[in-house]
C-alpha cells in the first residue's frame, strides 16, 4: 500500500540516483574549456576567472551530490547499481554503469573535497603561470576520471578510468613541458604504470575467462565455484590474483614499481598534493579493497600483499631519512604510508586500510600544499628553479614569515607521526594492531617505521621552518645547481624578493584541511568506530565487542613511545643542534648513507636493465629489419634483374611499364580462358 511518504520518496530522486552526475559534471567543465583552448586559445587564456569559476562550480556541485550520497549511505540506504550494455558480441556482454555503496560514497566525498580545495589553492599557486587555464582543465579532467574510477561497478570499468587517471597524471607531471626533468618524469610515470597495467589487464582477462564476469562479486563467487569444481586450478587462480595486484602495485607506488612517484614531483605542487598523495595513488589501495571478496579466498595472496606493503613502507621511510628536497621527502613519506595501507589490506583488514587512506589523504594533502606554499615563497628569493626552491638547505626560519603555513605543517607532522588524538594515530595504530595479530614480524617492521616516520617528518619541519634563513647564500646556491648538473643562467635571477605568507586562496585550504587532520581520527576509535560501522557494520560490532583496554593500551603506548623517540631525536639533531647526525651516523657508516641517498640504487638498476636494455634490443631489431629482412628483398631484386644497380634499375620509370604488363597479362589470361571456355580442373 503506497503511503504518502512512499509517494514522496518516489518523486524525489535520491542522491544516489543522480550520482552519475558526480563524474560527469567536472567532465563537462573540462570539455568546454578544453575545446575552447584548442579553438580560441588566446581568448580562453585571458578568461582566467570565468574558467576557474565554471570549473569550481562544476566540482562544487559534484561535491554537494557526493555529500548527499554519503549521508544517505550513513543513514542506511541500500547500495545502488545501474548498468547498460556497452559492447557485446555473441554471448559476451560488457556492461558499464555506476555503483554507489558505502565505500564509493566515502571516497566520492573525500575526493571531491580535496579536489575542490586544491583547485582553490591552485588559483593562488598558479596565478603567475601562463598555463593557468590548461592547468584547471587538467584538474577537472583528473577529478572526473578519479570519480569515475570510484563509482565503477566492475573491473573493466575500473581499468578504463585507471588508465584515464594515469593519463591525467602524465599530462600534469609534464605540465611544465619546457623542463627536461618533467618530460622524463611524465614518461616514466606512464610507462611504469603501464607495466602494472600489463599485469592488471592480463589478470582481468584471465578472471573473465575463469568466471565469465567482470563484476567483483560475481568473480569472487565464480572463482570459488570454478576452483571447487576443478575447472580452474588453484595455481591459475593465484596467478590471476597476483597479476591483478600488479596494477595496484604500480599505481600505489609499491616496491619495486614505486620508482615513478618521487620523480613525479616534477609536476606543480598542487598536483603532487591531489594526485600523488591524496587520491590517485590511493586508487590502488581502493582497488584492493574492492577486490577483497576475491582476495580473502587466498591467504597466500594476502601474505604477498602484506609483505610488499611492509617492504614499501620501510623503504619509503628509510629513503626519506636523508632527503634534502622538501617535496621528495614528502613523496617518499607517501610511498611509506601507502605501504602501511597495503599492509592493512594484506592483513585482511580493508577497513583499517581505507581508514588510513582517508586520514592520510587529509594530512598529506595539507603537508604537500604547505610545501607548495613554502616553494611559492622561496621562488621569490631564489627564482623559479626547483633545484633551489625545494632544497631545505636553503630554507630555515620560515616560521616567522609564514606562520599559517608553519603551524598547519606542524599539525600535519604530528598527525602523520601518530601522536594521539590526531588523525594518524588512530588509523596507523589500527593497522599495526591488525598486523600484530596476523603477521608479528611485519608488525615489528611497521612499528620501527613509525619511529622513522616521526623522525623524518620533524626533520623536514625543523629544517624548513626553524633556525635561521639560509636562502640568500649565493655560494650554496651555486654549489647546489652544479651538483644537479644545471647551468646557472642569470636570467632566472630576478631581483630577490622578500619571503611572505601566501595569499588567502592558498592558506584557506591549509586551514580547512587542518581540521580533519586533527579530528577525523576520532571517528575511527577502536571501541566505537563510526568508520567501520559505515563500511562494514558487522566488523564494527565485532570490533567494539572484542575491544579490551588491556590489549589496546600496550600497543598504543608502544607506538606513541617510538614516535616520541623519533621526534625527540629530530629535536635534538635539528632544533637544539645537540647531536651532529652527520658525524654520529653518516660519516661512520658512509655505505648506508650512500645507499639511502641513491634510493637503494633502484633507479640505477632500472636505468641499466630496463631503459638501456630495451633501447639496445630495439636498435638490434631495427638493424635486423634493415639489413636482413629488407636486405633479402633488395638482394632478390638484384638477382632477378641481373643488374648491378639492383632496384635502382627501376628508377628510370620502367615500373609503370611493368605494372601495365602485369595488368594486361591478367586481362589477356582472363580473356583466353573465356574464349576456350574449358575449365582447367
Amino acid at each position: 500500500m503506497p503511503t504518502l511518504a512512499g509517494v514522496f520518496v518516489k518523486r524525489m530522486p535520491s542522491a544516489a540516483e543522480i550520482a552519475w552526475l558526480i563524474p560527469v559534471l567536472p567532465l563537462i567543465g573540462a570539455v568546454i574549456t578544453g575545446l575552447g583552448l584548442i579553438t580560441f586559445n588566446k581568448t580562453i587564456n585571458r578568461l582566467r576567472k570565468p574558467v576557474a569559476v565554471l570549473l569550481v562550480t562544476c566540482l562544487g556541485s559534484a561535491a554537494v551530490i557526493s555529500y548527499a550520497v554519503l549521508f544517505e549511505q550513513i543513514n542506511g540506504s541500500p547500495p545502488l547499481e545501474h548498468l547498460f550494455v556497452w559492447a557485446s558480441a555473441g554471448n559476451f556482454i560488457l556492461p558499464m554503469g555506476y555503483v554507489i555503496d558505502p565505500l564509493a560514497a566515502l571516497m566520492l566525498a573525500l575526493v571531491t573535497t580535496i579536489a575542490l580545495l586544491v583547485m582553490i589553492y591552485s588559483h593562488g599557486y598558479m596565478a603567475h603561470d601562463k598555463g593557468y587555464v590548461r592547468f584547471f582543465t587538467y584538474l577537472a579532467l583528473f577529478s572526473s576520471s578519479m570519480l569515475g574510477l570510484i563509482v565503477s561497478p566492475n573491473l573493466l570499468e575500473v581499468y578504463v578510468f585507471w588508465e584515464l587517471v594515469g593519463m591525467c597524471s602524465y599530462l600534469l607531471v609534464g605540465f611544465w613541458y619546457d623542463r627536461e626533468g618533467a618530460a622524463h618524469a611524465a614518461q616514466k610515470a606512464f610507462v611504469v604504470n603501464r607495466v602494472g597495467d600489463f599485469g592488471l589487464l592480463l589478470g582481468i582477462l584471465g578472471l573473465f575467462w575463469a568466471t565469465g564476469s567482470f563484476d567483483f562479486q560475481n568473480i569472487a563467487l565464480g572463482l570459488s565455484e570454478a576452483i571447487s569444481s576443478g575447472d580452474v586450478p588453484t595455481w591459475a587462480a593465484l596467478t590471476l590474483c597476483l597479476l591483478v595486484f600488479m596494477g595496484p602495485m604500480a599505481k600505489s607506488a609499491q616496491f619495486p614499481l614505486h620508482v615513478w612517484l618521487p620523480d613525479a614531483m616534477e609536476g606543480p605542487t598542487p598536483i603532487s598534493a591531489l594526485i600523488h598523495a591524496a587520491t590517485m595513488v590511493a586508487a590502488g589501495v581502493f582497488l584492493v579493497a574492492r577486490l577483497e571478496p576475491i582476495y580473502t579466498q587466498f591467504p597466500s595472496v594476502g601474505l604477498v600483499i602484506a609483505v610488499v606493503g611492509t617492504i614499501t613502507c620501510f623503504l619509503g621511510a628509510s629513503i626519506a631519512l636523508n632527503q634534502m628536497d622538501l617535496k621528495k621527502g614528502l613523496a617518499y613519506s607517501t610511498v611509506s604510508q601507502l605501504g602501511y595501507m597495503m599492509l592493512a589490506m594484506g592483513c585482511g583488514a580493508p577497513v583499517a586500510g581505507i581508514f588510513h587512506l582517508v586520514t592520510h589523504a587529509f594530512f598529506k594533502a595539507m603537508l604537500f600544499l604547505g610545501s607548495g606554499s613554502v616553494i611559492h615563497a622561496m621562488e621569490e628569493v631564489v627564482g623559479h628553479e626547483p633545484v633551489l626552491a625545494q632544497d631545505m638547505r636553503l630554507m630555515g626560519g620560515l616560521k616567522k614569515k609564514m606562520p599559517i603555513t608553519a603551524n598547519t605543517f606542524l599539525i600535519g607532522c604530528i598527525a602523520i607521526s601518530g601522536i594521539p588524538p590526531l588523525a594518524g594515530f588512530w588509523s596507523k595504530d589500527e593497522i599495526l594492531g591488525q598486523a600484530f595479530n596476523t603477521f608479528p614480524l611485519l608488525w615489528f617492521i611497521g612499528f620501527l617505521t613509525a619511529g622513522m616516520t616521526a623522525f623524518y617528518m620533524f626533520r623536514l619541519y625543523f629544517l624548513t621552518f626553524e633556525g635561521t634563513f639560509r636562502g640568500e647564500n649565493k655560494e650554496l646556491q651555486k654549489q647546489l645547481l652544479s651538483s644537479a648538473g644545471k647551468v646557472d643562467d642569470d636570467q632566472e635571477h630576478h631581483n630577490p624578493g622578500e619571503l611572505h605568507e601566501s595569499p588567502w586562496p592558498m592558506t584557506m585550504p591549509l586551514v580547512t584541511l587542518a581540521i580533519p587532520s586533527i579530528v577525523v581520527g576520532l571517528l575511527g576509535t577502536p571501541w566505537d568506530s563510526k568508520f567501520a560501522a559505515l563500511l562494514n557494520p558487522q566488523e564494527a560490532i565485532e570490533m567494539s565487542q572484542s575491544f579490551q583496554w588491556g590489549e589496546f593500551l600496550p600497543l598504543a603506548l608502544a607506538s606513541v613511545a617510538i614516535s616520541s623517540s623519533g621526534i625527540a631525536l629530530a629535536v635534538m639533531a635539528y632544533f637544539l643542534n645537540r647531536i651532529k647526525l652527520s658525524e654520529v651516523f653518516a660519516n661512520r657508516y658512509p655505505a648506508i648513507d650512500e645507499f639511502l641517498k641513491r634510493k637503494w640504487y633502484l633507479d640505477e638498476i632500472n636505468e641499466k636493465i630496463f631503459v638501456q636494455g630495451s633501447r639496445k634490443l630495439a636498435k638490434e631489431v631495427l638493424e635486423v629489419d634493415a639489413k636482413v629482412v629488407d636486405g633479402v628483398v633488395n638482394l632478390t631484386g638484384l638477382l632477378t634483374l641481373g643488374s648491378g644497380e639492383g632496384l635502382k634499375y627501376f628508377e628510370t620509370g620502367r615500373a609503370q611499364f611493368y605494372a601495365l604488363i602485369v595488368f594486361a597479362g591478367v586481362i589477356g589470361l582472363v580473356a583466353l580462358f573465356g574464349v576456350l571456355g574449358t575449365p582447367p580442373i
Partner: protein, 540 residues
Amino acid sequence: MTEQVTANFPWLSLSILFPIVSAFLIPFIPDQGEGKQVRWFALGIALVTFLITVGAYLNGYDPSKEGLQLAERVNWLPDIGLTWAVGADGLSMPLILLTSFITALAVLAAWPVSFKPKLFFFLLLAMDGGQIAVFAVQDMLLFFLAWELELLPVYLLLAIWGGKKRQYAATKFIIYTAGSSLFILLAALAMGFFGGGSPNFEFTHLAQLNFGTGFQLFAYAGLLIAFGVKLPIVPLHTWLPDAHGEATAPVHMLLAGILLKMGGYALLRFNAQLLPEAHAQFAPLLIILGVVNIIYAALTSFAQRNLKRKIAYSSISHMGFVLIGIGSFSSLGTSGAMLQMVSHGLIGASLFFLVGATYDRTHTLQLDEMGGVGQKMRIMFALWTVCSLASLALPGMSGFVSELMVFAGFVTDEAFTLTFRIVIAGLAAIGVILTPIYLLSMLREIFFGKENVELVSQTKLIDAEPREIYIIGCLLVPIIGIGLYPRLITDSYIASIEALVNRDLLAMERVGHPSSPVISKTKLIPAVIKAPAISTSLTT
C-alpha cells in the same frame, strides 16, 4: 548462403563510378596551375561521394541482417564469367564509409599541394572510387581488377609527389603488391573454374562450393601472401616503411587509413569466409604472426629516428591485433579485428596527417633535429598528444575498445589450448607496454624540453591553422565516439561477423581436430558464458 537484399537504388555503383567519372572532368576545370579551383572541385566530389555512401548506409542497409545487401548484379562479360556484382554486408559497409570519409579529409589535407594539382586530385578521386570498389565488389575477378586498378594511382602519387627516395619507394611498392597479387589471380581462377562448368567468380557462388581441404590450403596460402603484403605481415612489410616514409601527408592518410585495411578485409572475406576449413588449420599461424607483428614492429618503431618511419612501423604493430582477431575463432575477437581496422584507419590517418603538418613547419623528420617544439606550437602539441594517446589505446578512444575486444575474444575462446592462449596473451600484452614507450618518447623528443636553438633559428614554427584543427577534429569525433560507445559501429557489422564465425566454427568441427598442437581438443563451440544480469537492479 543467406538471402540477399537487392538494392532499390544503385547506391554502391554510384559511389564507385561517381568519383571516377567526375575525376575525368578535372582537366576541363579552368585553373592557373596552383590548384586553387581544382581543390574545391575535388573536395566537393569527395564530399558528395561520402554523402552517397552515407545515403547507402541509411537507406539501403539494415545492420541487423547478416547477408548481402544493396546488391546489384549485371552480367558484364558472361563469356569469361565476369559480372558487375556489388553489394555490402557487415564486412564491407564500415570500410566503405571509412574510405569515403578518409578520402574527403585527405582532399582537405591536400590543400597546399601546388605541384601538378590537377593530376594529384585526379588520382585522389580515382583512388576513392577504386577503393570503394575493392570493398563493395562481390565478384572475385572484379575484386582482382579493382585491387590492381588502385595500385596505379598510389604508384604515381608516390613516384611524383614523394620525398627524396620516392622512385625507390614507389618501385618497391609496385613490385611487392603487383607481384603478390598474382597469387590473388591464380587463386581466383582456380576457385572460379572449380568443379567444371562455366566459370563463375561471384562470392555467393564460391561460398557454396565444396572445395577439398587440400585445394583450400593451397588457395589459402597464396591469398595469405597476397594479403599479407598489404596488411602487412612481418616479414612481408618492408615496402611499407619506405612507401610511408616518402609519401606526402594526404597520400599517407590514404595508405594508412584505407590501403592497409584492404589486406585485413580481404583476409576476412576470402580466407576466413570462403576457405573456412583451411582457416581452421591456418588460424594458429595467423595468431603467431600477429604477435610477431605487434612486438617486432613496436621495437623497430622505438629505435627509429625518422618520425614518418616511426609511425609507419607503429601501423604495422597495430595491424597485429587484426591478425589475432581474425584467427581467434570468436565473434568477439573477430569483431575486435574489424573495429581495429576502422579505429586504426582513423587514428593512423590522424597521426600521419600530423606528421605531414609538422614536417611543413620543421622541414625535418629526424627526431634528433627537433626538440622543444611545443613552446611555439602549442595547439599542434595538444593535437599530437591526443592522437598519440588514442594510438596507445587509451580508454575512451576507439583503439582501446578494439584491442580489448581482441584480447577478451581470444582469451575466452575455447578453440585453442590454454597454454597457447596464455603465451600469446602474455606476449601481445607486452605490446601494451611497448606502445607508450615509443609514442611517449617520440612526443618527448619533439615537443618537450628546451627549444632546439638550431631548428628555431632556421624555420618559423607557426601553430596549427584552423584547417588542420578541423581535420583532426573530424577524425577525433568518431575515435572518441567509438571509444565511449563502441556499439555505434559494432552494431553495424556484428550480425555478419557472427555468421562468419559460426561458419568457421562449423568448418573446424568438420575438419575434425586439426593436427596443430595448439588447437584445443575438447571444446570447440565456446562455452556459454554466464552474462551478468543487465538491468537497473538494486543489489543488497
